[in-house]
């Protein structure tokens, strides 16, 4: 579905991404973990096209996507912090985004109903709390039933019930053959959702394999302990 090859990005002196390559197949949920500042958001932003990598290539369904915009019809992106024009209402924002996409795309209103966006449609975006904005953010990412979802810390600042709703939705994507890339700091969340784990350290990939393989290779049963063990052994090399 999506493939990144040797992506590098430097901000001034800071090497944010260093020759990162990864792949996600249809029906696969890929979790990206790593310490703060390890390049998770930069990686996701390069994929979406907000950050332009210095080198490397990105392919979506075997096609190069550099500087093309039409492939984003198949992309749903949920930024870490959702910022919107404050004087628009939720309904107006949704109409605006629908306008930008073509009308032929079928709408997926599951989250729209499940997260209660309907009840806050007339509210101004500036008046919404952080959690409510995050709900709008999630709804917009899933609204056009995209083939690829890029979710940057999707459950951060969501209440437990909404968080559960969103997780169910992510799991459902697997069954219909969509790919999901998500970043998270919560090991339990990754355990529940992900098939594969990518661990970034200082802009480099430190681990990229299935969860079972991580457990098997480190001999630890708890995922958190397994990851800590792996990083302890491999980070010093």
């Amino acid at each position: 579905m999506i493939e990144l090859k040797q992506i590098s990005k430097r901000f001034g002196r800071f090497q944010a991404l260093d020759r990162v390559s990864l792949k996600a197949a249809p029906g696969e949920v890929l979790a990206i973990m790593g310490p703060n500042g390890s390049g998770k958001s930069t990686l996701m932003k390069s994929l979406v096209g907000l950050v332009l990598p210095d080198s490397g290539e990105i392919r979506f369904k075997d096609r190069l996507i550099q500087s093309k915009s039409s492939w984003r019809h198949h992309l749903g992106y949920m930024p870490q912090i959702a910022r919107y024009p404050e004087n628009l209402t939720v309904a107006e924002l949704m109409a605006l985004i629908k306008d930008l996409r073509s009308l032929e795309e079928s709408l997926d209103l599951d989250l729209f109903h499940a997260l209660g966006i309907e009840e806050m449609e007339e509210k101004k975006l500036g008046a919404l709390s952080g959690g409510m904005r995050q709900k709008v953010n999630a709804t917009l990412a899933f609204l056009f039933a995209p083939d690829l979802l890029v979710l940057d810390e999707p459950t951060a600042s969501l209440d437990p019930l909404s968080s559960e709703t969103l997780k169910q939705k992510i799991l459902k994507q697997k069954q219909v053959g969509k790919s999901v890339l998500l970043s998270s700091h919560l090991i339990t969340e990754v355990e529940e959702l992900a098939d594969r784990l990518v661990y970034l350290l200082e802009g480099k990939i430190c681990f990229d394999d299935s969860l079972e393989s991580l457990r098997a290779q480190t001999g630890q049963n708890r995922l958190g302990a397994a990851l800590a063990e792996w990083v302890r052994v491999h980070a010093t090399q």
Partner: protein, 238 residues
């Protein structure tokens, strides 16, 4: 936007009713437009563009090209400003029956408005820091509206023993406000009031091809900053 239109309306109306002499009204109005329109376009476009930056995350993740997003923003804000200007200045001129200077002052104001919105977008895309961006925008205004004339005058005095006609002409191409002033004054046929460079224009160019040349240079001033700003925008990380 409404406030901008009302401000222009009030000032134009006051100018039109204060003075009986048409030429004098036209000159006062021209000076006002030449100072105010660039300043408001710069400040408003800069603020607008920085405010919209937060929203870019969401927009650029949609299937739209960066070029499209950029041009949409630029044309959106500059055209809204142009409309406010047209209503604010045009309406009182029509009401007071001052149709003769009307068209030229209106046209030059609209052009200046697009030129300085373009400068604002250039400043915004050049400086990611809001304070620095706003400072650059204000400096552009300070330079074109005030500093430039002082420098030219200083240069003319310093080199007064040499023939300065051609250098002075070329210098005026470097400042869209100066060029706009010359253009309107040439058209209003009150070139006695426009000083050194204006008189030169009249002598050297006759009237029509000096006019065409000035218009062409103004158009370049309108397009060039926008293209540069778009280049910067297309290569920027958000």
């Amino acid at each position: 936007m409404l406030a901008y239109a009302s401000l222009l309306f009030a000032m134009t109306f006051a100018l039109a009713s204060l003075s009986a002499d048409r030429a004098q009204t036209a000159i006062s109005l021209l000076n006002l437009v030449l100072l105010l329109v660039p300043l408001i376009s710069l400040i408003f476009s800069t603020i607008y563009s920085y405010n919209l930056r937060d929203f870019l995350d969401l927009l650029l993740a949609q299937p739209v090209s960066r070029k499209g997003v950029f041009l949409g923003q630029y044309l959106g804000v500059s055209s809204a400003l142009a409309l406010a200007y047209l209503v604010g200045t045009g309406l009182p001129l029509i009401l007071s029956g001052l149709t003769e200077p009307l068209a030229w002052i209106l046209a030059i104001g609209v052009l200046l408005n697009y030129i300085f919105s373009g400068f604002a977008f250039l400043a915004v895309n050049w400086q990611s820091d809001r304070v620095k961006g706003m400072a650059s925008a204000l400096f552009i205004w300070f330079y074109t509206a005030i500093l430039f004339d002082a420098l030219v005058l200083f240069g003319l005095v310093a080199f007064q023993d040499y023939p300065l006609e051609k250098p002075a002409l070329i210098l005026s191409f470097l400042n869209p406000i100066d060029l706009a002033r010359i253009l309107v004054l040439l058209k209003l046929d009150i070139s006695a009031l426009m000083g050194y460079t204006g008189a030169l224009y009249r002598n050297l160019f006759g009237s029509w091809w000096g006019l065409v040349l000035a218009c062409a240079v103004l158009l370049i001033w309108a397009v060039l900053p926008v293209i540069l700003a778009m280049r910067l925008f297309e290569k920027r990380d958000c």
